[in-house]
Amino acid sequence: MRRSRVASIAAVTLSLVLASAACGGGSTGSEGGSNEQPKTLTYWASNQGASLEVDKKVLQPELDKFEKETGIKVKLEVVPWSDLLNRILTATTSGQGPDVLNIGNTWSASLQATGALLPWDAKNFEAIGGKDRFVDSALGSTGTQGQDPAAVPLYSMAYALYYNKKMFADAGIEKPPATWSELTDVGEKLSKNGKWALGAEGSNLSNNIHQVFVLGKQHGADFFTPDGKADFTSDGAVAAVKQYVDFMAKDKIIAPGNAEYAQNQSLSDFAKDKTAMVLWQTASATFKSLGMNEDEWGVAPAPVQSGTPGTGTNTNSMVAGINMAVFKNTKNIDGAKKFVKFMTSDEEQKILNSAYGSIPPVKSAQEDPAFDSPALKVLRDTLATSATALPQVPEESQFETVVGTAVKELFADAAAGRKVTTESVRAKLEKAEQQMSTS
């Protein structure tokens, strides 16, 4: 009796191990997806509005419209940002995921490498109206160069310089700075009596990356070699990181307290007239919820080293935004494509991007007068002329983690009054680079 029980336990264990080993990923077969369930789709939307509930209210009427047109019912789930990447990861591993989903556009190459997402080749793009409907800069952030994109642009955003009009007026500054040297000049006038010129989110890794990436471009550095190897210690990269941290360490125009910010505290400082400028993407909705009127702040293109924003070393923003992807193993591949076509149609692009304060990555929708307000015009022009996509390499998320952490630690040094030198910056970046090559 006892022996048989032990044996049965052993058998159960073994079968469980074998089962889980054998069926590994659930993504076997049907590489291009199938049409087994043509009447339903599941859709994971990212959180774009002020809350999950707001997103549902924005999206649901549109999904109803889609159901009326095609008879396909879309089951919507708005996934919070804190969970989205882990949810995608488990969905990829198990093959149990949505049919269509939103991804942060900087994840495109990383997720592309898993092979779980439908590649948007010429044929698939044809099904949604063609690749040339989309703005080039947005297409540049959809996957590794030279491969078929892993996703389609849905919403676009760009960085701009937001400034507090009252603080500028009080300090007698007439126009927002267009170059970094102008910024440090006005910064000196603004940073006194407990007020500061510029806000930063020193403990927010992604934000750090966005800022030093753009500065890197301006110093002619890329952080990755053309063949995809980490290259964090080039002179340009070191200069870029040092310039950003020096706003606190040397120029003293960022409050030391910003070194620990990671929850958008810099925006609330801005709204409270404690900080005069922030470099941010589409901040208008946040300012509103912090009790700031539209006429209290202004927007200008983010500064460059010299001259005016443009390409190459005059880049002044990364291409921020959301892409839409389709899981390869979907059971409703035609419906999924129809849905992507619907969401990227001119009409939906106008509705959704106006609701979220972002810019349509679709050319014809972008020209709509709805996106002509001064605030959005700056973002639109930036995207069209002077924004560059973050490196499209599978290791992008590692890059954000290790270099973002290095910048965070340098800010912590600066805030504690320790010296930040070219050598200390280089040492931190060197350590970051070594972590990349061994992992």
Binding site: D83, T282, G291
Partner: protein, 286 residues
């Protein structure tokens, strides 16, 4: 209520240390609670400003907004179901297992106790993916949907608390004198009768403590819940993060919502108190 210590008057040194210690401890415990209450009564732009002991202006708006920002009521119900079911199952299973270990000698006992304990040593983050795979495969093979359902979460959480529950119950059961079971057996009870009529009642404080532990383990878990739930089964622990969105952190609403959802739990603790301090004396007198 039973008074375990001798009625002998306590010396002043004892009374004073007690007063000082308990006062300091109460302050430490309540400090964040005070911050939560005062912040939950401030408008958003005040919360993110410099801390002040007294709010300059009071508003109860956050207490109305919390229901709009996220479906808090749904999350609360989900959490209650998941944590409640996990607790009941976990405690029941642990009582059986602990009874076996405490009262019987059998082969493999040591292996069992050590194995059960060792499951607590592997960082949860690493078996998250394998577990998810197993649930999906069980789902494919049998049609029982474990991932995304409350059932899967209940099973996961009950096993989280099971090992420590078993271990702690072994300790509590060991301290229940064996003469009591013997007496019950003389009265004609089987082993299970002795368990439920004698051992369990005598170990009520321990069982309640273990139940509270099991409940709180399930109530607060974040990582597995974030991956294994969808918007219809999402629990509070994860749902509260909905107040911090990409561009805004609704501090005042986080605090208000936490207070609202914690109230029933604290009330539950209050009700359970008398069982926490009943115990052996009560059981022995019976």
């Amino acid at each position: 209520m039973a008074e375990p210590r001798s009625p002998m008057a306590a010396p002043q040194s004892f009374l004073w240390s007690r007063r000082i210690f308990l006062t300091l401890l109460t302050g430490f415990v309540l400090l964040p609670v005070y911050v939560m209450i005062s912040s939950s009564l401030k408008p958003l732009e005040d919360v993110s400003g410099k801390f002040t002991w007294l709010p300059s202006g009071l508003t109860v708006r956050p207490y109305f907004d919390i229901w709009e920002t996220v479906p808090l009521a749904d999350y609360f119900v989900n959490s209650l179901i998941v944590a409640g079911a996990a607790t009941v199952c976990s405690v029941t299973i642990a009582v059986f297992a602990a009874y076996a270990v405490s009262r019987y000698n059998f082969r493999g006992k040591r292996v069992f106790t050590v194995t059960v304990l060792s499951t607590q040593m592997f960082p949860g983050i690493l078996f998250l993916l394998p577990l998810f795979l197993i649930y999906v495969n069980i789902g494919n093979a049998t049609g029982i949907a474990l991932f995304g359902s409350r059932g899967g979460l209940i099973i996961t959480y009950l096993t989280f608390s099971l090992p420590f529950s078993i271990w702690m119950l072994i300790g509590y059961f060991d301290s229940v004198p064996r003469d009591l079971d013997e007496a019950a057996k003389v009265d004609g009870c089987g082993p299970l009768g002795a368990l439920f009529r004698v051992v369990v009642p005598a170990a009520i404080p321990g069982i309640v403590a273990v139940a509270v532990y099991a409940f709180m383990t399930a109530w607060g878990e974040v990582l597995f819940a974030s991956v294994m739930t969808n918007d219809t089964t999402r629990t509070l622990a994860v749902g509260l993060q909905g107040y911090s969105t990409q561009n805004d952190v609704y501090w005042n609403q986080i605090m208000a919502a936490s207070l609202v959802v914690s109230l029933p739990v604290v009330a539950g603790f209050l009700l359970l108190q008398r069982y926490l301090v009943a115990g052996l004396t009560a059981g022995a007198v019976k």
